[in-house]
């Protein structure tokens, strides 16, 4: 069974962490992944940096720019991850924009992911319709789960379509925003979380965007299966490098 599906069956709220590969230093990828697993993180999204990340806020943009300046490429990332399954066993997802994958070659990209032991992909600018028509067969051939996003503006009908085409979990964007834009949840989010919960979707939801501390993690996971932290972790890396990852994770998880 795919590691993501397996993880989703565990009886706990899941903490997922995003980081941009090649940041703060080009060769930090392996250290960060090992530290995150040791700290008890449940799954990790490895960001493949892109020059024009149009769904991302300033924090992730800046980390992507720095990572590219450091020399990160798709090929380099795959080299860094070559032996990762010897030391890391939690589910790993690559999150990136479609163009770098297209240039690498989609089939070649998927094949490489499978060889390394990547479990899923999140590609914000690959829409549902294009995926199902052109790429689903390839992704499935290599055992990769494609994770879709939904937002507070996504219609009920479309949420059902996305649920139908999904594997693993649904990435639930907490509010109308780019990443890192907000740091608390109000009534609107609460209503949205409840509304989605009541839809009884086939796939569990993991909430992303706007999660930065225990409070937002707890609120997000009141109804959802888990939550994803991105920008807040990037800020931690900016300030601490690869030090104290454990205490960052502990501080999110302290009430759990």
């Amino acid at each position: 069974m795919n590691r993501i599906s397996h993880k989703l069956q565990e009886n706990k709220k899941l903490l997922s962490i995003y980081f941009t590969a090649g940041y703060p230093q080009l060769d930090d990828t392996k250290t960060i992944l090992e530290q995150l697993e040791k700290s008890g993180v449940d799954l990790v999204e490895i960001g493949l940096p892109f020059s024009d990340p149009l769904a991302d806020g300033p924090t992730i943009q800046a980390s992507s720019t720095q990572a590219l300046q450091n020399g990160m490429t798709t090929k380099k990332l795959f080299e860094q991850l070559e032996d990762i399954r010897k030391t890391v066993s939690i589910p790993l997802i690559i999150m990136g924009y479609f163009n770098p994958m297209l240039q690498y070659g989609i089939e070649k990209f998927c094949k490489k992911c499978a060889e390394i032991g990547i479990d899923g992909l999140i590609i914000p600018d690959l829409p549902l319709e294009v995926y199902t028509e052109e790429y689903q067969a390839i992704f499935q051939q290599y055992g990769l789960q494609n994770i879709f996003l939904i937002t507070p503006q996504t219609s009920k009908k479309r949420i059902r379509q996305i649920d139908e085409a999904s594997e693993g979990f649904i990435y639930m964007v907490s509010s109308a925003s780019i990443t890192g834009a907000k740091n608390s949840f109000g009534d609107a989010q609460q209503n949205y979380f409840e509304r989605i919960d009541q839809m009884q979707l086939q796939h569990p939801q993991i909430v992303g965007f706007g999660i930065s501390n225990t409070e937002t993690f707890d609120k997000a996971t009141q109804f959802a299966k888990g939550a994803i932290i991105g920008s807040a972790f990037i800020k931690h890396l900016t300030e601490n490098g690869t030090q104290n990852i454990h205490s960052f994770v502990d501080q999110i998880r302290k009430s759990n």
Binding site: F98, Q103, P127, R158
Partner: protein
């Protein structure tokens, strides 16, 4: 019959589509479902045509350039988009989109701009309609195009500097898209060219198609034929070319010539000739030709003309290039500047440096004495005076 227009799924051949994050889906879907109906509606057309006539100053003249024709020994007509209100063809699109935004019930307008022409055209129609206007502009471009920044401010727009990435047009476009993600309910994004996710390329092309619609009628009057032998237009994103080509796309005996900016030379590393240097990929939600590294990172283009340094090209043009329906030329900074000086001297018209690229094609092509050649003079050179002054030491 083969067509070079968009198909039902939003593609020109293999190019186009809507590669957008889910956050943009509701807005793009609404546009896709409604744009044809709104633009086709009689009340829209009435208001649009009236504004084009009384506010923009259309129809723009189709001017027979006597001395230029003599020099190149062919019949050259200039389509005078430079005489539009605000100084370029850009306003044809912004007038249309602001009327569309009103009909969609939107209350706030955002736009991106490179040289500032589209920003000014957007700020202008927002002032006209009393709508709040936010224009994203690369920090570097704001310095290069200070007079246009001042014009936008005077028109009541807020100009927001883009400080990410290369701090130019592509980053301003990213920031406008991010603004739309953050403000999905009441905001309409007026894209300035035939780029972006479907339906933008087709919508902007339709709003610019007034250019070729007028050329047809005007040529009929002057030459007793509605079709020229050649139409020449410059291409950055490609909106003026899309408008000038539109009604001739499926008239295979009309030769379409698209002129890109070669900058300091195609292989100099400082160029914006996307069709020559680019390959297939995705930029700003559209599958098209774009300039990129072998790893798929989008590269920064260069041209002396700020309106042509976009790293992609609209999907219509990518298709016109790959299907060989249009001929693509490229013109260096120096060639464009000389062509701009030549038009000024021979005809008393100072062209925008963008449009000067189209004029420079006359040196590269040999036309027959009886050929009718239409050049789309997309903008006037007022905004470029400083560049002309520096270049010619005036």
């Amino acid at each position: 019959m083969t067509t070079h227009h968009i198909n039902k799924k939003g593609y020109y051949g293999e190019y186009g589509g809507a590669y957008i994050p889910e956050m943009l889906y509701p807005n793009i879907d609404q546009l896709k479902e409604q744009y044809l109906e709104i633009i086709g509606d009689a009340s829209f057309q009435e208001e649009y045509q009236q504004l084009l006539r009384d506010y923009v100053g259309r129809p723009t003249p189709l001017y027979f350039a006597n001395r230029l024709s003599e020099k190149y020994n062919t019949k050259i007509y200039l389509k005078r988009e430079d005489l539009c209100h605000t100084g370029a063809h850009k306003v044809n699109n912004t007038v249309g989109q602001i009327l569309l935004a009103k009909r969609l019930g939107k209350k706030r307008i955002i736009a991106e701009t490179g040289a500032g022409q589209h920003g000014v055209a957007t700020a202008t129609v927002c002032a006209l309609m009393g709508m709040p206007c936010f224009v994203y502009m690369g920090e570097i471009d704001m310095k290069r195009q200070a007079p246009n920044v001042a014009r936008m401010k005077m028109l009541g727009a807020e100009v927001i500097p883009s400080t990410s990435g290369s701090k130019t047009l592509k980053d301003a476009t990213n920031d406008a898209i991010r603004d739309w993600i953050n403000n999905p309910e009441e905001t309409h994004y007026i894209i300035g060219s035939v780029v972006g996710p479907h339906p933008y390329p087709d919508m902007v092309a339709r709003l610019q198609s007034i250019i070729s619609q007028e050329i047809k009628l005007q040529l009929q009057e002057k030459e007793n034929r509605s079709k020229p032998n050649h139409i020449i237009a410059c291409v950055g994103g490609g909106s003026n070319a899309a408008g000038a080509f539109y009604h001739y796309l499926d008239e295979e005996n009309v030769n379409l010539i698209a002129v890109e900016a070669a900058g300091k030379g195609i292989h100099s590393g400082e160029s914006a000739a996307t069709s020559q240097l680019g390959n297939n990929g995705i930029i700003h939600g559209s599958k098209t030709l774009l300039m990129q590294s072998k790893d798929g990172q989008i590269t920064e283009p260069y041209s002396i003309s700020a309106g042509l340094d976009y790293p992609g090209v609209g999907p219509m043009h990518a298709h016109l290039f790959s299907s060989k329906r249009a001929e693509f030329l490229s013109v260096t900074d120096d060639q464009a500047m000389q062509a701009g000086a030549e038009l000024t001297k021979l005809e008393g018209i100072i062209p925008a440096i963008e449009s000067a690229h189209a004029l420079a094609a006359l040196e590269q092509k040999k036309f027959q004495p009886d050929d009718v050649v239409v050049i789309n003079l997309s903008g006037r050179g007022d905004k470029d005076l400083e560049t002309y002054m520096k270049y010619f030491d005036l």
